[in-house]
């Protein structure tokens, strides 16, 4: 079986159409039994202490799992990926670079996707058929998301997990589809959560293992997982290129912001958690978010994998207390 690691979301239709199995390296890293060990291993061979732990974790998991081929996003994600793939290449890993055009040019994105199709040896027919199949699974993930924000029968953590898994469909779309169907059936019979505070989660998925639990323990619930939802391709379109142009994550912050504002309104959100990764360029965008969104915002910075540290927990607690007392 040809296994292809992903540094972030790419058109997996192309990979699945070729018969290969895509695996999101972020998901493999963070769900591995000891993610901290993977980061540590990367630092041991010379990755700097002050670089993103996701980059180090991806390197670690590629080594641990013996992954031999990677699709790496070289534009539309961070430039640390450039150095990461250079290190991987120097260690014999085959890398296909994929670039999302910052200006959301249809022609450039089409050229990128077609180059990727040539690399994987597939044509538009197979890719389109695969898209239709994967879309049927994505619709189930969208239903989970709706059950979270509208019906209140899915926790913020479950929503996060299912949405984040759509980036690679867990390497087994059929099994993932069954899992989603069974989960939805079960969730529909639940009693709705009675949260006091509805939160939105903006930014890349957290490196913390217990953020959602800590939020829910304190009577609040995350009902919007911004980037995770983007991984599930929430905009309905039959056109594959259009789908990856509508996808917000790799493009301008202001384009992301349109989606954020729309969903805040729709999901009746009381406050936002803006998660930023230590040493990530996206930390800079915090000032834009604060300027543009008129809601209380808690910016949480995560560095290494593991449970929330005491200071972060205090800030979370103070934020929820503030929202509660304002009512």
């Amino acid at each position: 079986m040809r296994v292809v690691g992903l540094t972030t979301t790419v058109p997996i239709e192309v990979i699945y159409a070729s018969g290969a199995t895509p695996l999101d390296l972020n998901n493999l890293f963070i769900t591995s039994p000891d993610p901290e060990k993977l980061v540590h291993e990367a630092e041991r061979i010379g990755f700097p202490r002050n670089t993103c732990s996701w980059i180090k974790g991806i390197w670690g998991v590629v080594k641990e799992r013996g992954i031999e081929e990677v699709v790496a996003v070289t534009q539309g994600d961070c430039s640390n990926t450039h150095a990461l793939i250079e290190v991987l290449e120097s260690q014999g890993v085959r890398v296909f670079p994929f670039a999302y055009p910052y200006d959301r040019s249809r022609e450039l994105l089409k050229a990128q996707i077609e180059t990727m199709m040539a690399y994987f040896g597939v044509g538009w027919n197979e890719v389109q058929r695969t898209k239709e199949y994967l879309d049927s699974i994505r619709r189930l993930a969208h239903e989970v998301d709706r059950l979270c924000w509208e019906e209140g029968v899915v926790s913020g953590y479950e929503d996060h997990l299912f949405l984040v898994s759509t980036s690679d469909m867990k390497g087994d779309p059929e099994a993932f589809k069954l899992e989603l169907e069974e989960f939805i059936k079960k969730a529909e019979t639940r009693k709705p959560f009675k949260e006091e505070i509805r939160l939105g989660y903006v930014g890349v998925p957290p490196i913390f293992s217990d953020l959602y639990q800590k939020v829910e323990e304190r009577g609040a619930r995350i009902v919007y997982n911004e980037i995770q939802r983007q991984f599930s391709m929430p905009f309905d379109t039959d056109d594959l290129i259009e789908q990856y142009l509508l996808y917000t994550y790799p493009y301008s912050f202001f384009y992301r912001l349109e989606d954020i504002k729309r969903e805040i309104e729709k999901r009746q959100i009381d406050g936002l958690i803006h998660y930023v990764q230590s040493f990530c360029y996206r930390q800079i965008q915090d000032m834009l978010l604060r300027k543009e969104v008129r809601l209380p915002i808690l910016t949480l910075e995560g560095d290494r994998p593991g449970a929330l540290d005491v200071r972060t927990e205090l800030r979370l607690e103070a934020f929820l207390e503030t929202l509660r007392l304002r009512r």
Binding site: D303, T312, A318, E321, T322
Partner: protein, 258 residues
């Protein structure tokens, strides 16, 4: 009589305030050390003594601060953010922003006109801009905190300090001393560097005035001068800035619906 107590177990010191209505009966400070539970009890005993009250006279106790979960006799806990906001708006009704600099925390809180918390930011992953940072620098220069403040007040010029990592700033200070740079210039440079850091936190919350400055660091007149210069604004300083959090907790103990 119905008394209410607030206990602020901070990273460096523990503070207890006992109130009756709007009257502050006692306000005590002790070093927290490595035993927050013991420190909170001892400080509470002392505050009772000063207030001339018994344990049974205190109707409710609210704890706050990093050790707030370690106070077995507290009825409820609130975070420092809520307590500092309450304490500051009691000292200065109508205050719209609070800059609080404590032992290991620096926070900026924006308040609504009714005194509730609108938004806040708090230092993260870094001790620069906290009381502990100043303590380490004072130690490196063989000064006590009072002398630091005096040096900062008399300085006319500052030497720029580029490191804000506590450890690196300490070695920078040591090499500046070795170069023969006058102490007050270094001290003033440190104060300005911290004030700039706080000012970037101030810009991240909704703007409003007047601004109160609380926490143990607000006892340092050098820091008041630096913040006022960098922000270009006058700051309100409570009579006892270090106990504002405990005061807020005591007032909340009295006011909150239980």
């Amino acid at each position: 009589m119905a008394l209410y107590a607030g206990i602020d177990v901070g990273s460096r010191t523990t503070k207890v305030v006992i109130v009756e209505g709007e009257k502050v009966l006692s306000s005590e400070i002790l070093l927290t050390g490595s035993d927050p539970r013991g420190a909170s009890w001892r400080c509470f005993q002392r505050a009772l003594e000063v207030a001339g009250a018994k344990f049974g006279d205190v109707k409710r106790v609210i704890s706050t601060g990093y050790g707030r979960k370690r106070v077995p006799f507290a009825h409820r806990e609130f975070t420092e953010i809520t307590c500092h906001a309450r304490g500051a708006s009691f000292c200065f009704p109508g205050v719209r922003m609070v800059i609080d600099m404590g032992g290991q925390d620096a926070k900026v809180i924006a308040l609504e006109d009714r005194g509730g918390v609108l938004d806040f930011v708090m230092n993260d992953k870094c001790a620069a801009g906290t009381g502990r940072f100043l303590e380490v620098m004072a130690q490196a220069m063989d000064l006590d905190l009072e002398e630091m403040a005096t040096e900062a007040l008399r300085a006319r010029e500052a030497v720029p300090i580029s490191s804000m990592c506590t450890v690196f700033a300490e070695s920078e200070v040591i090499s500046l001393i070795a170069e023969g740079i006058p102490r007050e210039k270094i001290v003033w440079g440190l104060h300005l560097a911290i004030a700039r850091r706080i000012s970037s936190m101030v810009k991240r919350v909704p703007q409003g005035e007047p601004i109160a400055f609380t926490g143990g660091v607000a006892k340092n007149r050098g820091m008041i001068r630096a913040l006022q210069e960098v922000l270009g604004k006058k700051l309100l300083i409570p009579p006892d800035p270090q106990t504002v959090g405990a005061l807020g907790a005591a007032l909340l103990a009295q006011e909150i619906d239980w």
